[in-house]
Symmetry: C3
Subunit: 214 residues, 3 copies
């Protein structure tokens, strides 16, 4: 996969996460500027953390102005199209899943390209994928989605990062196979939401009472 | 504007934001050490993020000990002078506005001096200006001021960063013009608080019910 | 103290903080993956911030895979052994204190080894020590322990960082003296919890009403 295709997938991931941020901004009653800022934080935050960890010059989000387009487009799209804020929750989950799927693949590939070893690349890919969403939810005073025990979030991201690493090392990475890995992650995430697939709780012998959390 | 004058404005910005952090610490019932730490986080956090993004050696706040003075002075000032914690909210807004005004200018100039392009410098200036306040409010479990839809916060910061960039490129930057840009930002922020100037909501067709937020 | 002994103390600190993160995950009803992620964030977060500030290549947590063992061990330990989640609060405080004690010493020594001056090293040591806990509590929507006015948290960390710097400069640093500094910090923190030692409030003339906070 050449660099331009990776950039396209990355920008698409920024856009998806930015939409999730702008949707949350509408639900919280933020204004258009707050929507743009939260969208930018969510869309660009994971990648900025990744680039800071890679420690190879200023993050792309600050040096390459094309990264500013997806958050601006997301804020405009949400501003003009969202009619029913209360019902936008489902959309938020879908766009968040799209961002997760794209970033666990592109984040891993960027780390591999920067010369990190496979394990570090998988970790950085997952960090890129979950980082923006954690910033979004913490800023808006919610518990991050990645910690919701009722569905799968980090596991699909780890699978996507693992697939990307495998494809890269086997020399099978093309735009098509990269996009397929993304689709797998997206499907796993959405199916876990639909059918309530979940991991075991953090303590084996503890059964939470109904509805109890936090 | 020579480097020393920029340093003075920057230290003043640290002091203003640090006072806002210490005032919030008193409202939340933190102790003096917590006040010093929250003041340091708010005063130094935005600049540390900026320096990390610039990726040019350890952040100034850690290497230049003079940056420790403003937070210490802020914690002491708040400790000895604040009588009525409940009424300190207005003061907090004022000091926060002062920090915002100073940092959007100094942050932008530091980025320009480090060789960033104008757009990246404006983004970094705004990040410096809003970063410390976001850290403050998220740490204290409040929704960050920058997302409050009832007044303007990021827009004055963008204007200040734009003015600083313009002055720099036109060769008109002196201590006086830099300070004037700061005053413009401060005035815009305070006037928006006073007269309720605000941006449109994040979704055009949504009208929040009275008092509804989050 | 040679590098391997410092690594061992550092890994032990990661483990202690990771256990505190996993215990909080059980209390919040997170699942096993969320426990692993929160444990990793808490255990590795402070050190990642320190390494990013030192700006000397990618953080050790991403490049040295041995750092992944303590969070994995912590999540497994908590999963298999915690029976009564409601009563695990005391354990959480103990492991958090252990992490604090180890990290204020190892964080300071890592900064000194990287060539930072004594004051910057103490600041970075304290940042390492309190950083992971702040990430933990903010992510889980709690006010960070470091801001709790009912006991001492940052002061023991400053003492430990100061002791480590002193031992280093006097040439008295060995595994034994380093471990002793750690024990001093741990003891101060636990005694302050037991006997309610605390610092003065952030504003001298303010007496909070009983139970009032935030």
């Amino acid at each position: 996969m050449n660099f331009d295709l990776l950039l396209i997938l990355d920008l698409l991931g920024v856009f998806f996460f930015a939409v999730s941020g702008c949707l949350l901004a509408t639900r919280k009653g933020f204004d258009l500027v707050g929507s743009l800022l939260l969208g930018s934080m969510v869309g660009l935050g994971g990648g900025v953390i990744r680039d800071i960890v890679l420690n190879a010059g200023p993050p792309a989000a600050f040096t390459n102005q094309i990264y500013l387009l997806p958050p601006a487009a997301a804020a405009a799209l949400v501003y003009f199209t969202v009619k029913n804020v209360q019902r936008s929750g489902r959309l938020l989950f879908m766009f968040d899943a799209g961002g997760l799927a794209l970033f666990c693949v592109t984040g891993t590939l960027k780390a591999l390209e920067a010369g990190m070893n496979p394990v570090a690349s998988i970790l950085l890919g997952v960090t890129t994928a979950v980082g923006g969403g954690i910033l979004r939810d913490v800023t808006a005073n919610d518990v991050p989605k990645v910690f919701d025990p009722k569905d799968l979030y980090a596991i699909p991201a780890f699978i996507g990062a693992g697939l990307a690493t495998g494809l890269w090392h086997l020399g099978w990475l093309t735009f098509t196979t990269g996009a397929m890995a993304t689709v797998v992650v997206f499907a796993l995430r959405m199916l876990s939401l639909r059918y309530g697939w979940h991991a075991p709780l953090a303590a084996r012998s503890w059964t939470p009472r109904r509805g109890q959390r936090g």
